[in-house]
């Protein structure tokens, strides 16, 4: 199921790959929503765009993660009419979500820095 039509090697981010990645997925969703209200499909598209088409979140993983985040109170959801005229569920970052995003980004930066240091050591 590896997509072949991409110029880059895509990184699949899926819930059950690893515990570590779940936090990452949460962060990506929060980041995507930090730029504005979106529905599920929109979130995936925005993550694709922002990552230069490198990150493709599997839909089956997105929604459980999204609901979990909603339960944690980081996003709020409402049904509204989509541009296409159909009803869609829109998600919006809450204040707690914004805070959480900052924490996770800081954590991620530290992790990247740490890994970089380890790699430079070789």
């Amino acid at each position: 199921m590896m997509p072949t039509d991409s110029r880059y090697e895509e990184i699949y981010v899926a819930k059950n790959k690893a515990e570590l990645l779940q936090g990452t997925l949460d962060m990506l969703i929060l980041k995507a929503l930090s730029l504005g209200e979106l529905h599920g499909y929109g979130i995936i598209q925005r993550i694709r765009q922002l990552s230069d088409e490198m990150l493709n979140v599997e839909q089956g993983s997105l929604y459980p993660a999204l609901y979990r985040i909603e339960q944690k109170g980081w996003v709020s959801a409402r049904w509204d009419v989509h541009d296409t005229g159909r009803e869609a569920k829109f998600y919006k970052l809450t204040r707690a979500g914004r805070k959480q995003l900052e924490t996770e980004e800081a954590g991620w930066d530290r992790l990247v820095l740490a890994i970089a240091k380890v790699r430079q050591a070789t």
Partner: protein
């Protein structure tokens, strides 16, 4: 707020499953459609676009399910699935289910019953306001006797000098004759200083309780009624407050009625042995003539907020030391102690109760082991089913959860039935509980007990369910599917080891219980065999109490009792009759009184010898069968007027006259205002007055004219059934004085039975639990052996086919069972060696590690387990080799 959202979602998911799933579905479909449109825009054909979108989405249904799981519906859904499946499973295996449920119900029922008693006596708050602040204050005598009553003078000093207590109250239990309305009746009365109700923190139902001014010398003629007396004697009249009643010839005014729940009875130190029915003011006279120094007061106090019982005790000891310096002739070497009220009431029950709870805990563990075993054998036969489910993709966690759900269901069924057992058990406990075991009337299935039962059953469900569940979930798929779970696979071997371990632990637990019960039974038998110093059969006893106000002269009392005895002796079937002030083993206060031996050097204050003092007539010794060892009994004239003579018991003679003849020696016993030496005219045998356990202390007997008591206990030896004579004796007493009540009509055997009732109660209960434990482990052994024979059918058939004798097969099985038994026995005996020490306070005449007991219970257990193995062994012996070999 996270958990609030989760709970909200879960509840919504559960209640509106369709809506929630629809929501999710709708959202995902939109997603899919947007993806398809995007794909078409990117140049794919509609067909291709849809396929690609679907593929990238994964399985739509699974995605919806996963999302629904997050929303919480999944958990509830699978739990309800598990439960439905579990119920079907239990219904299918009816025999298994009923055995398991009954086993658990026995364990849980016993637990609940005992816990309800523990809860009532040791955990539930006492029915007084801030009861943890209430303590009892006692003196400790120079001989080290604890919980000794104190004197008016010392009580006043305590009250004046302490800084630890909000309030102190002194009280003493008395018996007053109530006359006037209706039959004359002897009432149990608590005379107390006015603060008592304040200290206890209870309010009256009607009227008021005592006020400080009620304690003033002229105001003390007020009385507070118990609810029981109010109902019984006054028919619950609403206008009772203000009415008058006559006690010991004096008029009292009723000022209040206490609520039905109120009671304050220090059984071990009560002179009446009965809870009070009426409260009156304890006179606290001062000055010459007032009995300032006699020790007869119990004291209760309420601690200040930040003061602990230990702090208060330290202060009280300081005060007591000061009193000892100030008045050494009364207080030298006396100390003081403070006892929290709960310890006072139930301190001596704490250990037996926790022990009983431990014992039923063991029974429950055995029940758990048994059910675990049953589950294992059931699970082994379900191997195939579980293997199929695993092959179809069920995760291990899911299977364990399924099996645990089943065991929890079993546990809940067991506890439901157990509650029924507990209900009956509590009724039985209340019935057989000793009369002095406080009141068990309040014990029942309350919320706290139900919570305990629920907790216990959930815990047991996990305990007995976990091992089999984990074991089964580790199954090797291939083996199970191939073998069909009937023959002895590698797994079955592992399961057999687990099952053997379970049976071994069951037996070990049963051994500990049997050992404990055996020790108690032996103690009980020893207790019955103690030489108490008198004969108990065909002996009737009753108390006659003449109010102080009736007669002025001692001679009138002496005369009255002399006439009662004279008339009693002439009744038909009365062989002999006598009297004593306090019966043996009656309870109440056996006070030690100091004495001097005339002609010997004066001992230092507080250092002199002491003796038990009793009043009796010559007939008492004959009637009780107490032997006269030396000298002579009281003569007729000595029983008519004071001649200053006494009898002593053997213990006193041995202790104080080891090398000389006590007859003719004179003792000055400190019972009188002025020294009054009395001549020893005889030595009688020892009698166990205070307890069957302790050796008899020295005792002195005065004839009635020398030490006149207003009440005496009649002892009457009869030819036949002693109770038959009681009405006739009562008639004779009435004939002498129509206002004279008779109380406490009991046979001596009843007095004895009451005294040993607690010991009997403990023995009976522990014996019952040990029996239950043995029965359950026998069932356990039977189950394991039976199953093992079933598994080995082929092997045994083969053995028989190649020439083994049936007898050898029988031995094979018995040996296996015996091996398990011996292993359990060794473990259990080791544990018993360590644990029976906890019983030491309850034992009498046996060591905590008693070879006879341990040997006999070991034998008993071996016999029981061999019996349990015999049925499976016989089955093995009768296996038909041909059929066994074909059987697959």
């Amino acid at each position: 707020m996270k958990w609030v959202n989760i709970i909200r979602d879960r509840i919504r998911a559960l209640r509106q499953r369709e809506t929630v799933i629809n929501d999710i579905d709708r959202e995902m479909r939109l997603h899919l459609e947007l993806q398809v449109e995007a794909n078409i825009k990117a140049g794919m054909s509609p067909q291709e676009a849809r396929e690609k979108a679907m593929r990238s989405f994964g399985n739509l249904n699974r995605a919806v399910d996963a999302a629904y799981d997050v929303k919480g519906g999944g958990l509830f859904e699978t739990i309800s699935q598990d439960i439905r499946y579990g119920v079907r499973m239990l219904a299918k295996h009816k025999a298994f289910t009923s055995v398991a449920v009954v086993t658990l119900a026995l364990g849980i029922g016993a637990n609940t019953a005992i816990f309800s008693v523990v809860n009532e006596l040791l955990l539930r708050p006492l029915p007084y306001r801030n009861a943890e602040q209430i303590v009892m204050l006692w003196e400790v005598t120079p001989e080290g006797r604890h919980q000794n009553t104190t004197s008016r003078a010392n009580f006043r000093a305590w009250r004046a000098q302490n800084t630890s207590f909000q309030n102190l109250a002194a009280f003493t239990d008395q018996r007053f004759n109530m006359t006037g309305a209706g039959e004359p009746e002897e009432l149990s009365v608590q005379q107390a200083t006015p603060e008592i109700f304040n200290v206890l923190g209870v309010d009256p139902l009607l009227g008021r309780t005592f006020r400080p001014e009620d304690g003033e010398p002229r105001n003390t003629d007020v009385a507070v009624l118990s609810y029981g007396l109010w109902q019984r004697r006054f028919g619950g009249q609403a206008n009772i407050v203000g009415q008058q009643l006559t006690l010991n010839g004096t008029k009292f005014t009723v000022i209040g009625v206490m609520p039905p729940s109120f009671q304050f009875h220090i059984k071990s130190r009560s002179g009446t042995g009965r809870p009070a029915e009426l409260w009156s003011i304890l006179p606290m006279p001062v000055g010459p003539g007032a009995n300032e120094r006699g020790r007869f007061l119990s004291v209760v106090g309420r601690l200040k907020d930040s003061i602990s019982a230990n702090q208060a005790a330290a202060e009280l000891r300081t005060i007591e030391a000061r009193l000892s310096d100030e008045a050494p002739e009364y207080n030298k070497n006396f100390s003081a102690e403070v006892l929290p009220l709960r310890d006072q009431f139930f301190g001596n029950l704490r250990r037996p109760l926790w022990l009983m709870l431990g014992a039923v805990g063991f029974v429950l563990l055995i029940a758990c082991a048994n059910v675990a075993n049953l589950l294992l054998s059931l699970a082994t036969s379900r191997e195939k089913e579980i293997a199929v489910r695993t092959a179809l993709g069920a995760r291990r966690f899911r299977i364990v959860r399924q099996l645990l759900t089943e065991s929890l269901l079993l546990a809940l069924l067991g506890s439901a039935m157990g509650l029924g057992f507990a209900y009956l058990g509590i009724k039985a406990l209340v019935l057989i509980s000793p009369r002095d075991l406080v009141s068990l009337q309040g014990v029942g299935l309350n919320l706290m007990v139900l919570a305990w039962t629920l907790g216990v059953s959930l815990l047991t469900g996990i305990i007995f369910g976990l091992a089999p569940a984990l074991h089964v979930s580790r199954l090797n798929l291939n083996d199970s599917l191939k073998e069909g779970g009937k023959s002895e696979s590698a797994q079955a071997g592992g399961s057999r080891r687990l099952r053997s371990a379970l049976v071994v632990s069951e037996i070990a637990l049963a051994v500990v219980l049997l050992a404990s019960a055996g020790l108690l039974i032996r103690s009980f038998i020893r207790l019955q065999q103690v030489d108490r110093g008198f004969e108990t059969d065909n002996l009737l006893t009753m108390v006659v109490r003449v109010p102080d106000s009736r007669y002025r002269e001692d001679a009138q009392f002496v005369n009255f009792f002399g006439q009662v005895l004279e008339r009693t002796r002439h009744l038909p079937s009365v062989r002999s009759a006598g009297m004593v002030n306090f019966l043996p083993l009656y309870g109440g206060l056996g006070s030690a009184t100091g004495f001097k031996i005339v002609g010997r050097p004066e001992p230092a204050p507080g250092q002199g010898p002491s003796t038990d003092v009793r009043v009796a007539d010559a007939g008492y010794f004959q009637t009780m069968g107490i032997p006269l060892l030396r000298g002579r009994n009281f003569s007729d004239s000595e029983q008519r007027e004071p001649k200053h003579v006494i009898l002593i018991n053997e213990a006193l003679a041995r202790k104080h006259f080891p090398d000389e003849d006590p007859i003719g020696q004179r003792l000055d016993v400190e019972m009188f205002d002025t020294p009054q030496p009395a001549e020893i005219i005889g030595v009688v045998g020892n009698v166990r007055y205070d307890s069957l356990i302790d050796e008899s202390p020295p005792a002195v007997y005065f004839p009635h004219p020398d030490l006149t008591y207003p009440f005496m206990t009649l002892v009457i030896r009869t030819d036949g059934e002693p109770t038959a004579i009681a009405p006739a004796v009562q008639r004779e007493v009435r004939a002498l004085d129509p206002n004279q009540p008779v109380s406490d009509v009991r046979t001596m055997n009843q007095v004895m039975a009451d005294w040993v009732s607690r010991s009997r109660f403990n023995t009976l209960l522990l014996g019952l639990f040990a029996g239950l434990a043995t029965l359950l482990s026998a069932v356990g052994i039977f189950g394991v052996m039976n199953y093992s024979v079933a598994l080995r059918t082929r092997e045994i058939g083969l053995r028989l086919a190649i020439g083994a004798q049936p007898r050898q097969v029988l031995l094979l099985v018995l040996r296996q069972g015996l091996l398990l038994t011996v292993a359990g026995l060794v473990l259990g005996l080791a544990a018993a060696f360590a644990l029976t020490r906890l019983l030491s306070g309850l034992l009498f005449g046996v060591e905590a590690v008693d070879v006879t007991t341990f040997t006999s219970i070991s034998l008993l257990l071996v016999v029981v387990s061999l019996l349990a193995c015999y049925l499976p062994a016989r089955r093995a012996m009768r296996i038909d080799p041909l059929r066994a070999l074909r059987y697959e």
